[in-house]
């Protein structure tokens, strides 16, 4: 019997499965994003600006939107939502503001990451402008007021009447492409720098 040959055949096939499954582990990373995107279940919002389509305002409903801010461990900035909570009609364009200050003696670059909960609401939150679309540089001691404009898609399911948008601010100075701190469009120059 060709015992050894058939052993070798089988080993090769099994090793192919092993290598394939190792690859599958990594393939789970993009698959996860695609799946969450399609199903809209991860609380992640779009990373590019939406275009506002007026005259779709649903005056019969009011959605409460709450804004939370936090800074990641090791991120020394002050970060506050000027508006903590508001009620909007679906389809109505609203702008809220967030305040940041870099209290340190060095320049920092920040990236804000939004997260919506319940996660199902995320795909109904359309942002026409957001500071989270770009990295935000701030020179030592500077502060800024960063706007965020959004409207809630009128298609939002009837059982969602309240959702929370949380922004977490991460320090990405080390890994950021060098951005000129003067480029920041939201900058409110109050620091010593003229």
């Amino acid at each position: 019997m060709s015992g050894r040959a058939s052993n070798q055949n089988m080993v090769i096939r099994l090793v192919v499965i092993v290598v394939g499954m190792f690859g599958f582990g990594f393939a789970l990373v993009p698959l996860y994003d695609v799946f969450c995107d399609v199903a809209g279940i991860n609380g992640k919002t779009a990373t590019t600006a939406a275009v506002y389509q007026p005259n779709q305002i649903d005056k019969s409903r009011l959605i409460t939107v709450e804004f939370l801010t936090r800074t990641n461990t090791g991120m020394p900035w002050e970060f506050q939502a000027r508006t903590k909570r508001l009620k909007v009609h679906p389809g109505e364009l609203t702008t809220v503001e967030f305040y940041v200050r870099n209290p340190m003696r060095t320049n920092y670059i920040a990236q804000a990451i939004p997260s919506v909960s319940p996660g199902e609401a995320a795909i109904f939150l359309n942002k026409t402008e957001c500071f989270c679309f770009n990295q935000q540089p701030l020179a030592a001691g500077d502060e800024a007021v960063m706007p965020m404009s959004f409207y809630v898609d009128p298609q939002i399911p009837a059982d969602i009447s309240y959702f929370t948008v949380q922004y977490t601010l991460y320090d990405v100075t080390a890994r950021a492409d060098t951005l000129d701190t003067k480029d920041n469009p939201y900058l409110k120059r109050t620091s010593a720098t003229p």
């Binding site: 015992g3 052993n7 599958f24 582990g25 990594f26 789970l28 990373v29 996860y32 199903a39």
Partner: protein, 544 residues
């Protein structure tokens, strides 16, 4: 002294043996290589099985010693003996060692010893790879244990190494942790490939699929689970490694990654992994119960199909470990019902064992005592698992001692008890002598009582809200925790009885046993002499 051959095929081993020892049936001992190098170079499935089993036993004692540190610290509220960081290292390494160092190698050791003997094969199909798959294991655990002595200590993020605990908040020993897990994974994958090839290609004539002993069946399915999910674990630890040391952002939200995705990838491995640790146990119990009930196994085919369905379902239930991560309700419902569905094939198994015993001529030898304890106590663990599967109540139970109670019932009184049952069942066949039955009964009763004192009260403190993995607790949990710790120390000490018994047995003390050993035993491994000769089934038996 025979030198191990360079070839990997079993034919060569037989040819060598026939050449050197024409009358090999009478004088097996004469050509067994002597000394340390026998164990380093061996390609004999029985030697490698023995190595695996001893390694697993040593790791069981090492991991158990860590559990003793945990229970000593939790004997009283407040911090007495160890600092929180060291406590976290103990819970982490205890888990890793028990899963990858004790339970899995013990099952692989049993597979090595028993599968060739059960299917009438002379050895495993790939003996040289078999040697490798064992001998890289001690290095993996040397690296893992060595990391405890590094500055800042070893891994302290729990055996599940959730990001960002293992990426942002861990120390540099994480690199050692990752490499040791890689080596453990390679070892189990090689072991699994060997099992699959052996079972596919080396069954004796007439040993059809549906005649295979259930231990062989359950191991075959386990081996497929292993090659499917161990590579995913390897991928997960690799991502942790690159996130921590090479600036990738798989699990870092700031860089576009997602820490919750870590849990999905980990549990995609992790849930099949728990079946890897229990399916061979089902096989062992399905061998032992018919022997001492003196009836054939009830529902053999349904046992095979139940095992396969458990294995398939294990791939679609992983997110029940992460109900509290904020999944949408419909996904929680899916994972809840899929999880509950697993209790159907598991129930089939339990009822089949009970039906096998029904009106059987039962006797209660030590392996049977462990098997019966397994059936009762594993079912308790299964039922608490069913409770945990219910999404709304899981929000209360999540990360409490209730979970600790659940998985220790299925892993200690489940997997470990089945391994002990297996050792008592086949040890006389391996050594040719009956073990010390008095000691064995002491071991059984001490273990049975103490393991329940140890784990049962954990249900209560868990339901009352005591969180896991914390070195301190609220005062109201003090009494129960003292009981738990006393049970823990007693269970730990009881295992020293087992150690003494196994050492005695290996020194060939005790009454010689017959070839069949147990009068109700059936299967090819009971047809060969006791002790099992170094080489068996050079001429394949014919199975009718």
């Amino acid at each position: 002294m025979t030198k191990p051959t360079n070839t990997t095929s079993h034919e060569a081993t037989i040819a060598d043996e026939l050449a050197l020892n024409p009358d090999h049936h009478e004088h097996h001992e004469h050509h067994i290589p002597k000394g340390m190098m026998r164990w380093v170079l061996t390609t004999n499935h029985k030697d490698i099985g023995t190595l695996y089993l001893w390694f697993a036993f040593i790791m069981f004692l090492v991991g158990g010693a860590m559990a003793m540190v945990i229970r000593a610290e939790l004997f009283q509220p407040g911090l007495q003996i160890v600092q929180p960081n060291f406590f976290n290292q103990m819970t982490t390494v205890h888990g890793l060692i028990m899963v990858f160092g004790a339970v899995m190698p013990a099952f692989t050791g049993l597979a090595n010893w028993l599968i060739p003997m059960m299917i009438g094969a002379p050895d495993m199909a790939l003996p040289r790879m078999n040697n490798w798959s064992f001998w890289i294991l001690p290095f993996a655990f040397a690296i893992l244990l060595g990391s405890l002595f590094m500055e800042g200590g070893g891994p302290a993020f729990g055996w599940t190494f959730y990001a960002p605990l293992s990426t942002t908040y861990s120390n540099d020993s994480t690199g050692l942790f990752v490499f040791s897990v890689h080596i453990m994974g390679i070892s189990s994958i090689m072991g699994a490939i060997n099992v699959i090839v052996t079972i596919f290609n080396m069954r004796a004539p007439g040993m059809t699929w549906m005649k295979m002993p259930l231990f062989v069946w359950t191991w075959l399915i386990t081996a497929f689970l292993l090659i499917a999910v161990m590579p995913v674990l390897a991928g997960a630890v690799t991502m942790v490694l690159t996130d921590k040391f090479f600036g990738t952002s798989f699990f870092d939200a700031a860089g576009g990654g997602d820490p919750v995705m870590f849990q999905h990838i980990f549990w995609f491995f992790g849930h099949p992994e728990v079946y890897i640790m229990i399916l061979p146990a089902f096989g062992i119990i399905s061998q032992i119960v018919p022997t001492f009930a003196r009836k054939p196994l009830f529902g053999y085919a349904s046992m095979v199909y139940a095992t396969a369905s458990i294995a398939l379902l294990s791939f679609v239930v992983w997110a029940h470990h992460m109900f509290t991560t904020g999944m949408p309700v419909y996904m929680e419902m899916f994972f809840m019902f899929a999880t509950m569905l697993i209790s159907v094939p598991t129930g089939v198994k339990v009822f089949n064992w009970v039906a096998t015993m029904w009106r059987g001529s039962m006797t209660f030898e030590v392996p049977m005592m462990f098997a019966l304890a397994f059936i009762v106590l594993f079912t308790i663990g299964g039922l608490s698992g069913l409770m945990l599967a219910i999404t709304p109540v899981d929000f209360q139970y999540h990360d409490t001692y209730f979970v600790v109670a659940h998985f220790h019932y299925v892993l200690v009184t489940g997997a470990i008890f089945s391994i002990m049952a297996a050792v008592y069942y086949w040890l006389p066949k391996w050594t040719g002598r009956m073990f010390n039955i008095t000691l064995a009964k002491w071991h059984f009763w001490c273990s049975l009582v103490s393991v329940n004192v140890l784990f049962f009260p954990m249900h209560f403190v868990g339901l009352a809200g005591m969180p896991r993995r914390i070195p301190d607790y609220s005062l109201q949990f003090a009494d129960f925790n003292q009981w738990i710790s006393i049970g823990g120390f007693a269970f730990g000490l009881s295992q020293l009885i087992f150690l003494a018994l196994v050492i005695q047995a290996c020194r060939k003390q005790g009454e010689p046993v017959s070839d069949r050993v147990w009068d109700g035993a059936h299967g090819l491994e009971w047809e060969i002499p006791s002790p099992a000769p170094y080489h068996t089934f050079e001429t394949p038996p014919v199975v009718k």
